[in-house]
């Protein structure tokens, strides 16, 4: 068992250390940071926008690059929250609280350094955790029949809804909307054309990249153009002098990094906004146990170290459910599934057994990617800062052009570009009505899997719906799902859940 881990990781590193893959990892991390640093563009939007450029690569390289983009984008997000007080994504909201204060006091350097070091440490721990948990979970997954799989997906979606921000009802409605969208196109079993209105471009279904780019990319651009959305950019003007944290900084932040890593690793495995919850939870926890809680919000280094480590640990461990069970726990992982499917890989336990070099190569490259971020990005902070000064009015038309080219190049189909524009407007409308687009994307990715397993389960049980409740494993999963849902709707817990988000945002 233990030797397995080493041989697996060994295989992984031999794949990841090939010059091509190292290069792709580096490019991914750099481009991810580059786009992630741009204000107003979050992690999901970054990954969605850059998805098309990986389509031409071989599967392993494409996934390694995407993973690199993901970390890069996260790192970029924390850079903007520290330097400009504009969190690029929900996960770095709490980093901005103390990070920006530190930057104002002229300590942007140490804040960035601690964020990077914490992220790297968390990444190392999470990588090992994935390697350890991967194999046993895969074995468990192989015992799953269609009924169990269906129940597991229901549980995953419910988890995602309960842990996410905002109304539970609206989030479930978004999932149903996403599942419905996934059904456009040919039926898997009969080949009948469904809801495609004889439009040839719809016969294959709605492209995943199309929907993601529209909902997250274009919608975000449009929203940033709204009157009143103009971001006040009080960029820290002082020169960033000295990256090195002092001895006291290191002493203060070491325990915070350790606690953040543990919390993040656990929360990341759970479906839902893993990384977001993790950073909120880590920050709140640090503040609670601190001897001087009044320092938080005024530039306490623990307030940067803990959420950043938690954020990164969770980002990595959220690969566990994806790689072992084939179930994406959040929107970014849903994008990874989309990328895998385009390369003809169906994520899940089979991949781990049939294509170990793919899975382990990716896991190893996560660690390398984190190292690269640490080594390359800290010296490059100056460049990122200059990028932050580019005004939005010049930035957004460039993004529009890049995204259009990207989406067109996937299939060389102008219709895809039109659909993306349409989904951009849909996404804008959703945001205006306070509907979260992330569960919708999750529903869209899980839709075909759910339908297939539901059909199979009912075929095997000869049309008996009780199969989901009579098979013990499936019944357990369903019971947990029902319990969670009940908890989320109960007023007392709901209040607490809202409080967590409110406290961390104000």
């Amino acid at each position: 068992m233990d030797f397995d881990i080493f041989s697996h990781l060994g295989l992984g590193f031999s794949v990841a250390f090939s010059p091509v893959n190292l290069g792709l990892c580096l490019i991914g991390a750099l481009v991810g940071t580059l786009v992630g640093v741009l204000p107003g563009i979050g992690t999901i939007a970054t990954v969605a926008m850059l998805l098309p450029i990986t389509f031409g690569l071989p599967p392993v390289g494409a996934l390694i690059m995407l993973a690199g983009i993901y970390y890069g984008a996260q790192y970029g997000g924390s850079t903007t929250s520290i330097l400009v007080n504009i969190p690029g994504e929900a996960g770095s909201v709490v980093t901005a609280l103390d990070g920006f204060q530190m930057a104002k006091q002229g300590r942007a350097g140490p804040a960035l350094a601690i964020a990077a070091i914490g992220s790297f440490f968390a990444g190392c721990v999470a990588t090992v955790l994935i390697a350890i948990l991967g194999a046993p979970l895969t074995k468990l997954a192989l015992a799953f029949g269609p009924a169990e799989y269906f129940s597991l997906m229901v549980l995953g979606l419910i988890f995602a809804v309960v842990l996410a921000k905002g109304s539970v009802l609206k989030a479930i409605a978004m999932i149903a909307f996403g599942v419905l969208l996934s059904m456009v196109g040919s039926d898997i079993e009969t080949g009948a054309s469904r809801m495609s209105f004889n439009i040839p471009e719809l016969a294959d279904g709605l492209g995943f990249a199309t929907v993601a780019m529209g909902l997250f990319g274009f919608a975000e651009i449009i929203r940033n153009l709204d009157p009143g959305a103009a971001m006040d950019r009080d960029l820290v003007q002082q020169k960033i002098s000295g990256l090195m944290p002092t001895k006291k900084d290191i002493k203060d932040s070491t325990p915070a990094i350790l606690r953040g890593t543990v919390l993040g690793s656990i929360l990341g495995i759970l479906p839902g906004g893993g990384a977001v919850i993790a950073s909120f939870a880590a920050y709140t926890f640090e503040k609670k146990i601190s001897k001087h809680p009044e320092r938080f919000g005024r530039g306490a280094i623990e307030g940067v170290a803990a959420p950043e480590s938690a954020n990164n640990a969770a980002a990595q461990t959220s690969f566990i459910p994806l790689l072992t069970l084939g179930i994406p726990p959040n929107a970014v992982m849903a994008l990874m599934v989309g990328a895998m499917t385009i390369h003809g890989i169906v994520p899940g336990p089979q991949v781990m057994q049939k294509q170990p070099e793919l899975v382990w190569g990716m896991i190893a490259s996560m660690w390398i990617g984190n190292l690269m971020l640490l080594v390359i990005n800290l010296p490059m902070v100056g460049i990122w800062v200059r990028l932050l000064r580019v005004p939005y009015r010049l930035l957004f038309p460039c993004i529009v052009v890049f995204c259009s080219i990207g989406i067109y190049s996937v299939n060389n189909a102008p219709m895809d570009v039109v659909l993306t524009a349409a989904f951009g407007l849909v996404g804008y409308w959703l945001v205006k009505h306070d509907f979260e687009p992330a569960p919708m994307l999750l529903g869209m990715v899980l839709g075909p899997l759910m339908e297939e397993n539901l059909r199979r389960a009912l075929l095997i049980s000869r049309g008996d719906w009780s199969v989901f409740l009579t098979r013990p494993l499936s019944a357990t999963l369903m019971a947990i799902a029902a319990f969670l849902l009940l908890l989320a709707v109960l007023p007392s817990l709901r209040k607490k859940r809202d409080e967590v988000f409110v406290e961390s945002e104000s």
Binding site: A176, T190, L394, V400, V401, Y408, P414, L458
Partner: protein
């Protein structure tokens, strides 16, 4: 969607307590009804096995119910008013993307990306045209080098007539 913001705030005090959820839910109901209609020609369940239309109708009904519940909660519970929709931004960005989709095949990458850039730039009221044109030219040159050469995408650079 096109509800005037003025009347929306009045609505908030009137009959409909949470207009944002109310109209949002109604729109979901409309989408669900549309999906039901669109999948009505598909075969349903035969024996134990799902037909192609079973699952779409199942989830359409689910969405119908959830949308109605969201609308109902918006009707009964106090909620935020409708948010103001921007017009200039969405209009020009969408127009730019549509222009791209129409122009890319016949006109090639260079003309298309420059035109697309300029149309999109019109979406912001902060745009200064001199710098926009300069940046647009730089971007076009960058795209012409980056996509076909560096990334190896099969994109035509020039209009079809010149080829």
């Amino acid at each position: 969607m096109s509800e005037a913001p003025g009347s929306a705030t009045e609505n908030a005090r009137g009959l409909i307590k949470g207009p944002q959820d109310f109209y949002g839910g109604l729109a979901l109901v409309a989408i669900a009804l549309f999906a039901l209609w669109a999948s009505s020609d598909l075969a349903g369940t035969r024996g134990f096995s799902f037909g192609p239309g079973t699952a779409p109708r199942m989830f359409a009904v689910l969405l119908l119910g959830l949308g109605a519940a969201v609308a109902l909660s918006g009707f009964l519970q106090d909620g935020p008013p409708l948010q103001r929709f921007g017009i200039r931004g969405p209009f020009f960005v969408t127009l730019a993307i549509l222009a791209f989709s129409v122009a890319i095949r016949p006109l090639g990458l260079i003309i298309t990306s420059f035109v697309c850039f300029l149309i999109a730039a019109a979406g912001s009221d902060e745009t200064k045209w001199k710098e926009t044109v300069i940046v647009g030219i730089c971007l076009t040159v960058g795209c012409a080098l980056l996509f076909p050469y560096a990334l190896g995408l099969p994109l035509d650079l020039f209009p079809r007539i010149l080829r």
